[in-house]
Amino acid sequence: MALHSSMLTWVNAAGLAESLYFIIALPLLGAFISGVFGRLLGRANVNLLATAAVAGSFMLSLLVFAAINNAGVTAPNPFGDAVPYALGHDYGTWFAAGGFRVNFGLAVDHLSGTLLLVITGVGTLIHLYSTSYMEHDEGYWRFFAYLNLFVAMMLTLVMADNLVLLFVGWEGVGMCSYLLIGFWYKNPAYAFAGRKAFITNRVGDFGFLLGSFLLVLMVAALPAQAPSQAGRLEAGAAQVGPLNLRGVGALATALPYSAAKAPGAEVTLESRVASGPLAGFTYGGVLTAALLLFLLGAAGKSAQVPLYVWLPDAMAGPTPVSALIHAATMVTAGVYLFCRLSPLLVLSPAAMATVALIGGTTALLAALIAFTQNDIKKVLAYSTVSQLGLMFLGVGVGAFWAAAFHLVTHAFFKACLFLGAGSVMHGNGDETDIQKLGGLRKEMKVTWATFAVATLAITGVVPLSGFFSKDAILHAAHTHVVPGFEGAMHVAYALGLLTALSTAFYMTRAYVLAFEGERSKDAKVPHAHESAAAMTAPLVVLAVLSVLGAAWAFPLLPGTHEPVFENFLLPVFSVTEQVRAAAGTVLVPDHAGLPWGAYVQAWVIALIGAGSAFFLYTRFFPSRAGQPLPAALAFARNLSRNKFYADELYEAVLIRPLKFVARLAYQVLDALVIDTVAVRGTAWVTAQVGSALRLIQTGDVQAYAAIMAAAALGGIVYALSRVMP
């Protein structure tokens, strides 16, 4: 600590906090310049500018990261005590109306600080890689503008200190993803994939918005009902808005789990909201609803069941994009969101169980689909979906640090895998079919070595980072107890184990088919060429990180068994821990020594998976070439290859009916009923009445006189009838 303090005396924490926006502004500026003047500047300048913008952000992030490791550095918190080990600055009102306000506030704590380094660090590597990967593309300036914009949006997402600003980043990255997936827009399928991604994400964003509104209503209802409990919730909300991330913690602290846990509390999760639009619902019910809506949002962004269908199609984008957006950063936003909402999540065991089951299901489903994919990017895409599922599983069982840890290690090894795949494509005439590759081990040495390391990491081989992070999640799923939902957690754990087995299998399969054996006869080019240094250097760095990431899982001090990373994130999850302990919703056993049993078990699982794949694809299938599969296996393979017909299901259940209703409503209701019958009908009736009346208006004076006389006569008769008795 003394070392830290002395090192950082030259950093003015307050000044640094005020300058946090620079981290976002640099890539934003880069995006603007590349986007508007990119064609004037030329390729070399754009490459330099875009990469430098992100690298500059990385430097600043390093500075910030160093600063927040200093015990004295705190971020202001209008909802209570200042936040330790964090920097934050409030730039004032973004928008406000009535009782609602959103401030433009940025904050960096250990979680967002780590992600800052990942985003800008991996981002810089991928920018560097792209300078070589996109060297023949006409639209380089557009590409780098989008990529810089993406980095800016992603940084906004993790640095935002409130949910609305987070949502700006959230939709912003979605927008960039749309633009980048459809980057080669001339191919209609690619353009469609971009649109599909955006709209699926929008379904999730719908949930995000609605969840936020529920939180706003809760923050508005609570202080009025329980002023003593709400603490500084109301004052803080008036100052920085009800959707502030510190406010999430304040809200969770103000809501005791049940009357039994907090005798004498005015309001608990079991009490009903007294006034406002939510009157009559229990706080707990509203909270669970809000969290499930957020889960929908997270499922959209992080490609979970049932909204995962967009991610595999998103591989239409250039490969560096897949590495950065669809593996390392954007898709993990859902996990990040739930880490931020963790104080509330631990108050709702039902929501936790749902998150865990959704995560587990996604993990296994995607892994099963990955078994039979032949497109190397598709394998990696489903693998990403599967790994994200594992992270959600971790979140669902209350192991937030483990989920965040897996997020980071996954960013390293999956980015490495994707960039490796890109390198393979670059050296093989854009071939993506692993059946038509093979034997690359000898021809692309660096790519092979790094890909192999990353494969071992994701497979979960000791002592690579993937092993520890995955095991931390599975271990938590095994040992954490959520009273009332033990069964669900057991299922989730089983799903997790099966996923680990499957991961080892399909990753080994992809590796073996692409790199081992002989070069395929169907290969596009006879000999692959190794990529340039700008592409291989990032691969090496990422491979090294995939190994070194494991260090964060080591025990902090000899004799204790708390992993470094868990300890590191303690300040971030301290409120969560307090709320969890008070509510007793998740029972976490003490660290009773390293889980050797679990380590061995995971090791065996990885070996079985990898070993069987290795055997099958190097020995068994080659020897049986040409023989048909048994019927049951063929059926399973078709099911997997067709992604369990999820797209077809959506098409039949949702999209077609919607289109049909739209067309029907347009042709029948709008064009026929409203416009023709009602509107033109009225006009027609008016015209007809006019024509009819024209018949009376003959211009025949004698007829007029006759009618007048008749009317007068009638009048007189009527008058007489009234007067006469």
Binding site: A96, G99, G182, P188, V203, L214, P277, L658
Partner: protein, 576 residues
């Protein structure tokens, strides 16, 4: 207030008319001169309008830059102008669009150029007048006057079926506004004693206040109608009808489902200028009318019809979006998207929460900017290809990259991506509706518009811009020229500025929203809003500082109301 301040709005309103006279003197063959003269008029008007907007002090009194001159004293009509926050913002939007509309039509319109620009100038004056009017008759005159030039724009410079569309537009709107005229006259005779009658908006409003309060409390507590004061009884009986008459006039203009079918036809047939003004400003006259007249004047009746109208708005949001998914014609798609977007405006307003109202007002501005820009950009494409069908395009991004970039940014604004203007408005509207007493299902349904909006807009963008260029006609299309960039760039700037720095705009809207919500809440007897809180300041007529349009005491009004309902009643004596 200085002479300049009190006459600034007059200058803004009548400057285009003045230039219209000038343009009328120019020879019809001098097309260039006519265009330049009109552009100068719009630009100068824009500067004046911006000045008025900047002079508006959010913390100041409700109506600012106010001026009242006697006009037809016999009927109590005065030329009363002034703006509140909403009117000032819409005024800014109108003068912002003015020059851009002229630039958009620079080459688009080449026939009857003189008449076209005359129509534009007259239309500008009429719309600005309607926004600034604080006298009900003056408003009505301007409101109706704006119909004629728009009718001509669609009917003369439109495409194939322009006559049908123009006629439909004209008759549709006229039906509504004639009923409104009846209601205005009814109001005039019911509220005030003979001799002291006035069409002055604040006077009329204050005159109705106590009776409104009585009616709302009566409705809330279920009182016996016979205990009401005569004016309140009259208001209770006739208020709903008058409200409906006003509401119908404005609902057609908005347009609210199911009286929206004129809009697609009018938009499809209108020239680019017509579409831009129609979407940009004229539809806002409908929402503005709800905000200024229909709801504050009859809060009790509005309370009664609040849920049905909010339901229509929600149906409009979803239905409009569904209609978009079924279109093949791009302009029709944009037109139906307007139905959907304006649904948000109406929903936010009828949420009766400050968030909702401010969001609604902001959404009015946003829609003007983003849909105005969509029509402008599509106009450029139409000028090149003369077809509106999506199937006739495809792969445009390749031949017109700059144009595509503009269009995509505007699309993001239209589907409310955060960071663009659309998001702030949509977010506040949805939040406001969640916070309101409206059923939660309304808010949830309205939020599905977020998904559907993205679905139809991106579908259209993909069809038009992405893929290979399949048709030979599209291969040689020229990208945007200097004039076109100059016309589109201000829209882009505003989209970003209003998205990133919305607060200066919201600051001007917020006080108006608070007043609006308080006035609307008066219709709910249980809300606890007192009449004094929502009283409007009345500006005395110049020269008659005390006697003009006094606010009659309760008994007087009551008497007047009572007697007027009896045929052949003698006008009552006005007591001191």
């Amino acid at each position: 207030m200085s002479f300049f301040d009190s006459h600034l709005l007059h200058a803004v309103i009548f400057l285009p008319l003045l230039f219209a006279a000038l343009v009328a003197l120019l020879p019809a063959a001098e097309k260039g001169q006519i265009r330049v003269a009109t552009l100068v008029a719009m630009l100068v008007d824009g500067v004046l309008g911006l000045l008025a907007y900047l002079k508006f002090d959010p913390a100041g009194p409700e109506f600012q830059l106010e001026h009242r001159a006697s006009w037809i004293d016999e009927f109590g009509i005065s030329f009363h102008t002034g703006v509140d926050g909403l009117a000032a913002s819409l005024l800014l939007l109108t003068v912002f669009l003015g020059p851009l509309v002229v630039m958009a039509s620079w080459t688009y319109v080449d026939e009857r150029v003189k008449e076209f620009h005359l129509a534009l100038l007259v239309l500008q004056s009429a719309m600005l007048g309607a926004l600034c009017a604080l006298d009900i008759i003056v408003f009505y005159v301007f409101f109706e006057a704006s119909l004629i030039p728009m009718y001509l724009l669609v009917g003369v410079w439109g495409s194939e079926e322009r006559q049908m569309a123009a006629m439909k537009f004209f008759l549709y709107t006229l039906v509504g506004s004639l009923l409104m005229l009846v209601a205005i006259l009814g109001l005039y005779f019911v509220v005030q004693p003979a001799g002291g009658r006035s069409f002055d908006y604040p006077t009329v409003y204050n005159g109705l206040l106590s009776a409104t309060g009585e009616v709302s409390r009566c409705v809330a507590t279920g009182c016996d109608a016979s205990t009401l004061s005569p004016l309140a009884a009259a208001l209770k009986a006739w208020g709903p009808w008058m409200f409906l008459a006003f509401a119908l006039a404005f609902a057609v203009k908005v347009p609210l489902f199911p009286v929206h079918t004129w809009l697609p036809d009018a938009h499809v047939q209108a020239p680019v200028a017509g579409s831009m003004i129609l979407a940009g400003v004229m539809l806002k006259l409908g929402t503005f009318g709800f905000w200024r007249f229909a709801i504050p004047l009859f809060p009790a009746a509005a309370q009664q019809y609040r849920t049905p109208i909010a339901l229509l708005a929600v149906v409009g949001i979803v239905y409009g979006a569904l209609m978009c998914l079924a279109q093949r014609d791009i302009k029709k798609l944009i037109a139906y998207s307007s139905v959907s977007h304006l649904g948000y405006c109406v929903l936010g307003m009828f949420a009766y929460t400050v968030e909702g109202a401010t969001g609604s007002a902001y959404q009015m501005l946003n829609h003007g900017v983003s849909t105005g820009a969509l029509f402008l950009l599509f106009g450029m494409l139409y000028e090149r290809r003369h077809t509106r069908l999506m199937a006739d395009y495809g792969g445009i991004a390749r031949v017109m990259p700059l144009f595509t970039a503009f269009f995509v940014v505007v699309t993001f604004s239209s589907i409310a991506v955060p960071g663009t203007n659309g998001f702030v408005g949509e977010f506040l509207v949805l939040l406001g509706s969640w916070k309101s007493a409206l059923p939660l299902t309304f808010s949830v349904l309205a939020a599905t518009g977020v998904i559907l909006g993205a679905a139809y807009m991106l579908w259209m963008v993909q069809k038009v811009f992405f893929g290979e260029v399949t048709l030979r006609e599209n291969q040689g299309l020229k990208d945007m020229g200097g004039r076109e960039i100059a016309a589109a760039l201000p829209f882009l700037a505003l989209i970003v500025v209003m998205g990133l720095v919305p607060q200066p705009f919201l600051d001007r809207l917020n006080p108006s929203s608070e007043r609006f919500v308080a006035r609307a809440a008066l219709g709910d007897g249980a809300s606890g809003v007192s009449e004094q809180q929502v009283m409007m300041p009345v500006m005395p007529l110049a020269g008659q500082p005390t006697a003009a349009a006094p606010v009659p005491s309760r008994t007087n009004k009551a008497l007047a109301g009572l007697q007027l309902l009896r045929p052949g009643a003698v006008p009552p004596q006005v007591q001191p």
